[in-house]
Amino acid sequence: MRVAYYSPLPPSRSGIADYSALLLPALAERVEEVVVVAPGARAPRADVACYHVGNDPGAHGWIVDALRRRPGVVVLHEFVLHHLVAGITLGRGDARGYLEAMERELGVAGRLLALGVADNLLPLPWETQPERFPLAGAVLDLAQAVIVHSAYVEERVRASGYAGPVHRIPHPAWPEAPVRPAPLAADPLVGCFGYLNASKRVPQLLEAFTLLRRRRPGARLLLVGASGERFDLERRLERLGIGGDALLREGYVAEERLWSLMAACDVLVNLRSPTMGETSGSVIRGLSLGKPMLVSDVGWFAELPDDVALKVPVDEYEVETIAAALELAADRAGELGAAARAYVRREHDLDRAADAYVAALEQAAGGEAVADAVLWRIAEAAAEVGIEDAGALALEARRAGIV
């Protein structure tokens, strides 16, 4: 089987690029050929195409363009795709495309709303409340099959009316390798990695850290990653008095440094709300290192087992809960870490993920021909004895998983 593979890849800085860099070698071992398609390149000859779709129009717009030309298997890394859809419609002067996507999701009300957005009369929904208007249907309509990473997204894909095959394949973990922790002393060292903004609950984390610091003066906060455009991290840190010895700050770091910093942490924090249905490679990395992990009790994060991650509800007690959970995680690091490592080995095995990809891609490449062959013979046998409508037989074949 030849697979045409569409995804951002390093040096592009995104979780999906890292994901593909991890998956591709394992996938290539299992199929005849994987042709990685570059942006702007012509579609290669292939039995099936695999499209990795996320919410960033800059990184994924060209992939949706390719998907429009040839249907294939869509890997839905996030369910909320409003920013992507707006980028490849309004962003290219295609107001009609945006109107259609909104109408598909919300009917006439959606169309009217889209008109208001297109005419600059309303705030941009992909910035203010994208989770209310995911617009995933615009991509799902083109998908031969869908790969998701969580039950949360699978349910939403089904709820949106998608009737094709949906394969849930957990985000694979990176192969275990010795990591030398960065020499950072703290009691405890709390780490937060990735894009830093309000939806990562950084304001709540900062407030919680100040509470923790009162009880544990040796606590230090390590923030790694770029801060959001409209998120004034420096001012918030200053206002809360988090600086000096309490704060360690790094921007985007290379892979090796990332692992080293993560390994140095006593507790990792990966909060999220609202969720766009994403899975976090950062969480998988942290768990595979056997680190205690705090996550928000939403979306995919809520699906982590209770003994593996401390789940923080997004409510009015969030700050106090985070502070308490940080202490608890630091105190029970051994127990939580062992459970985390065991969970990742069990559920996020790279070979299993690659096998599941091959199964999904093989089904997409030849499944229709198999179904046609079987159903044709059934219909033919029925027709020979005067039964022209073999619909019931076909239904049973489908129910049994035969076609």
Partner: protein, 339 residues
């Protein structure tokens, strides 16, 4: 109870799987149940035909017969376990191995074409549905259970079955090594013939028929009568061959279960097998109930020569095997299948 035992039937072929199903029917009847075999011809090629064959089973209505309820169906192997019944128990002798562990080996049948690959995926889905809906799933060996778990994520209870009825007995060994098996490549009888070539003192008797016979006979030509092909033999002759042999050779590639070691053990004979034989390794333990060696003719030759030179050990290992085989009874099997 009114019970139907479902098994596929490849026309003109009668082997271990057919034998087990028919024995089961007989044992059920002996315990006062109304039992009957349901067999549907099976042809698994070319390409997607295997799915049509599975679908035939799906279309059968076995919930009642002649106006009376069928209490339970017991299905033994693919595609018979695709049958629908509210009280279906599956006793998996094996899955359709061409779609699993045989794939991309000399024993496989599917190419790299998208249709062939998708056919394999359809078989996996079918197995998940058909086995997933069963009231209970048993596997005849830990090997088969492990394959099920690995391939389709279904946990099966291990339930080995007794071998066929024969007038088992032990007599003084006459020095030959016996092979009892269908003659096809997967059974690796060629290894034993090559071992005979490496060890001129080794005599071999090969019981069974199959598509590989001609090749095996060519292989044995020039060995000066060391290898005797006995063909298909009746029960008395088979029991006699077991009774008088030195040891029994049984080393298919990753066999599901393997009834032959049990037959050898009931005749108090040790079994010579290989590290990669699969199911037999659950009862053939090196230097306790037989000899386990690498799948190399020279290794096999050495093992057989050792047994010939140490007949007392061979007898002791055979006797130990008998104790193992006697623990597997039809009473236990039927209790589990009807629970």
């Amino acid at each position: 109870m009114r019970l139907l035992v479902c098994r596929p039937q490849v026309p003109f072929v009668y082997g271990g799987a057919e034998l087990v199903a028919d024995e089961l029917v007989r044992e059920l009847r002996a315990r006062g149940h109304e039992a009957e075999t349901v067999a549907v011809p099976f042809k698994w090629y070319p390409g997607t035909r295997v799915l049509d064959q599975a679908f035939l089973w799906r279309l059968l209505d076995l919930e009642e017969a002649d106006g009376r309820t069928v209490d339970r169906v017991i299905a033994t192997k693919f595609p018979a376990y695709c049958v629908r019944h509210p009280s279906k128990v599956v006793w998996v002798l094996h899955q359709f191995r061409q779609a699993y562990d045989y794939d991309r080996t000399a024993l496989g049948q599917f190419s790299e074409s998208p249709v062939d690959r998708a056919t394999i995926r359809a078989i996996e889905r079918l197995d998940r549905v058909a086995l997933g809906e069963a009231r209970r799933v048993f596997a005849t060996s830990r090997n088969v259970a492990a394959r099920l778990e690995r391939s389709v994520g279904i946990a099966a209870e291990v339930l080995p079955h007794p071998p066929q009825r024969l007038p088992y007995r032990a007599e003084e060994p006459e020095g030959y090594v016996l092979s009892v098996n269908r003659l096809d490549r997967a059974k690796r009888i060629d290894l034993l013939i090559e071992a005979a070539r490496a060890e001129p003192g080794l005599r071999v008797v090969v019981v069974g028929e199959g598509p590989d016979r001609e090749r095996l006979e060519r292989l044995a030509a020039g060995l000066d009568g060391q290898v005797e092909f006995a063909g298909r033999v009746d029960a008395d002759r088979l029991a006699d061959l077991y009774a008088r042999c030195l040891a029994v050779y049984y080393a298919p590639i990753d066999e599901d279960f393997g009834m032959v070691p049990y037959e050898a053990f009931l005749s108090q004979k040790p079994v010579v097998t290989t590290h990669d034989a699969g199911g037999p390794l659950e009862v053939v333990h090196d230097r306790r109930t037989g000899v386990v060696v690498a799948p190399e003719p020279r290794e096999l030759a050495r093992a057989c020569a050792y047994l010939a030179a140490h007949v007392d050990e061979a007898k002791a290992w055979g006797a130990a095997g008998k104790a193992v085989a006697e623990r597997v009874t039809w009473d236990a099997c039927i209790d589990a299948l009807l629970a």
